[in-house]
Amino acid sequence: MVKILYFAGLREATGQGAEEFALPDDVRDVAALRALLRKRGDAWAEALAESKRVRAAVNQDMAAGDTPVTDGDEVAFFPPVTGG
């Protein structure tokens, strides 16, 4: 299981803030997880589309598409940040 968090516009678009997710064996990085989540339906496909600027973090560190994801990780998806 991994914990997945969604923030800001992504949270609103997917209607989901946090979930526990059973990681399939063949999903080993952020890009693969994002691709899998897109298959959940139109809202997910659009919110996580490759053309969209989506940022990710693994265990609270900024992550890239090839950042590994393994059981027990905390993964987050969110738009580019706009604080300050």
């Binding site: 968090l5 923030f7 800001a8 516009g9 600027r53 973090a57 609270q60 560190d61 900024m62 987050a76 969110f78 738009p79 580019p80 940040v81 706009t82 604080g83 300050g84």
Partner: protein, 152 residues
């Protein structure tokens, strides 16, 4: 604590006094306060809400402060960032850096702000006459953060 995320407002005078207290080697204190403007991207802003990623936010900002301390001669640095509902004229963020000399204090303070803008997980949602909208990230903020990578 060098990083605080809070709903409450902050007092720059008290924070500056606290940060340099009892250190007679501090000769320079650079500070930055970010404020909610009533106009953004051409639209009137009545109110905004700041969302963050608890845990990661603090960690990301602490890492930015650590990088600043590695690059410049800095005694202490403080970041206070507000979350929740804010109105125009409200303070959003405070960065304070103490150093022996002003060049280090200015550089480290601006570096922390530039990195915070692109690396710290905060998101702003604005209420305008046309409805609520999430603020878009700016290319100019990416550029501001990137210029520190070629310096030195």
């Amino acid at each position: 604590m060098p990083v605080r995320i809070q709903n409450e407002d902050f007092d720059i005078g008290r924070e500056v006094a606290q940060l340099r207290r009892d250190n007679p080697q501090v000769g320079a204190v650079a500070s930055f306060v970010g404020v909610v403007r009533d106009l953004n991207d051409g639209k009137t802003v009545a109110e905004m809400t700041l969302e963050h990623y608890p845990g990661m936010t603090e960690k990301a900002i602490e890492e930015i402060i650590g990088q600043a301390k590695g690059r410049w001669q800095v005694y202490d640095a403080l970041v206070v960032h507000r979350i929740g509902r804010l109105a125009p004229l409200d303070q959003i963020v405070l960065v304070v850096v103490t150093s022996a000399h002003r060049g280090d204090a200015f550089a480290a303070c601006e570096f922390i702000m530039d990195y915070l803008k692109t690396q710290a997980p905060f998101w702003k949602k604005e209420k305008t006459p046309d409805g609520a909208r999430w603020v878009e990230a700016r290319a100019s903020d990416d550029a501001a953060a990137e210029r520190w990578q070629t310096k030195d």
